[in-house]
């Protein structure tokens, strides 16, 4: 079964600093999702990456997919307190009948100190 490893598991940064979160898969990535979660709440969709080398940006968040390395990275520029939360990567993994299901990493907890 596919496993996703996220690093670091937790991160504390000063407001205004840049940061990077990594997500490494045990198998080839076909579709990679990034979500943000506030403690005890639902997941907020950030971005989806499907092609090797693909890069997407939304506001100050950029995500890249390196298919050869089976890895994705999420980069936040000039972090703000509003960026605090848990960042989860999820990957499409083959299921029975050819339908896809999503496997998630354990998450990276981000704290931004004003």
């Amino acid at each position: 079964s596919q496993e996703l490893e996220q690093s670091p598991q937790s991160l504390i940064v000063q407001e205004g600093k840049n940061l990077t979160i990594n997500c490494t898969s045990s198998k080839t990535l076909y579709g990679l999702y990034w979500y943000k979660q506030k403690y005890g709440e639902g997941l907020i969709f950030l971005m989806m990456l499907q092609k090797g080398g693909e890069e997407k940006s939304h506001e100050k968040i950029t995500a890249k997919l390196d298919e050869k390395k089976q890895q994705s990275s999420l980069h936040i520029t000039a972090s703000q307190p509003s960026h605090a939360g848990i960042y989860l990567c999820g990957a499409d993994s083959p299921g029975s009948g050819g339908y896809q299901k999503v496997t998630f990493g354990i998450g990276t907890k981000l704290q931004v100190i004003p």
Binding site: G31, M48, G90, D92, G95, Y99, V102, I106
Partner: protein, 116 residues
């Protein structure tokens, strides 16, 4: 446009009891997936419903069952509750993206289940 809604928000049950959680998908979505998220862990896939049929299932025992209604809303039922079933239960709705199997999922706020 209402997003994914779930009810109830919180629930406390006793071991051995049964529980039903409900989910209404985002407008236009026909596929509903359920996930269990234990404290400090990522969500674990339970099962997925499409056209009122379970078409995909994760590694969960038969105590976990579900249903999808003609209006695409869904229920998750858990029988014979165990302490280990305490978790945040998330519902996600989606529609297939053109040209492939990947799909963008929208999550509800979750139901926090506590089993005592």
């Amino acid at each position: 446009d209402a997003g994914v809604t779930q009810s109830p928000t919180h629930l406390i049950k006793t071991r051995g009891q049964q529980v039903t959680l409900r989910c209404s998908p985002k407008s236009g979505h026909d596929t509903v997936s359920w996930y269990q998220q234990a404290l400090g862990q990522g969500p674990q896939f339970i099962f997925q419903y499409y056209e009122e049929e379970e078409r995909q299932r994760g590694n969960f025992p038969d105590r976990f069952s579900g249903h999808q209604f003609p209006n695409y809303s869904s229920e998750l039922n858990v029988n014979a509750l165990l302490l280990g079933d305490s978790a945040l239960y998330l519902c996600a709705s989606s529609f297939p993206l053109a040209g492939g199997n990947s799909y963008e999922q929208y999550f509800g706020p979750g139901t926090r289940l506590t089993v005592t």
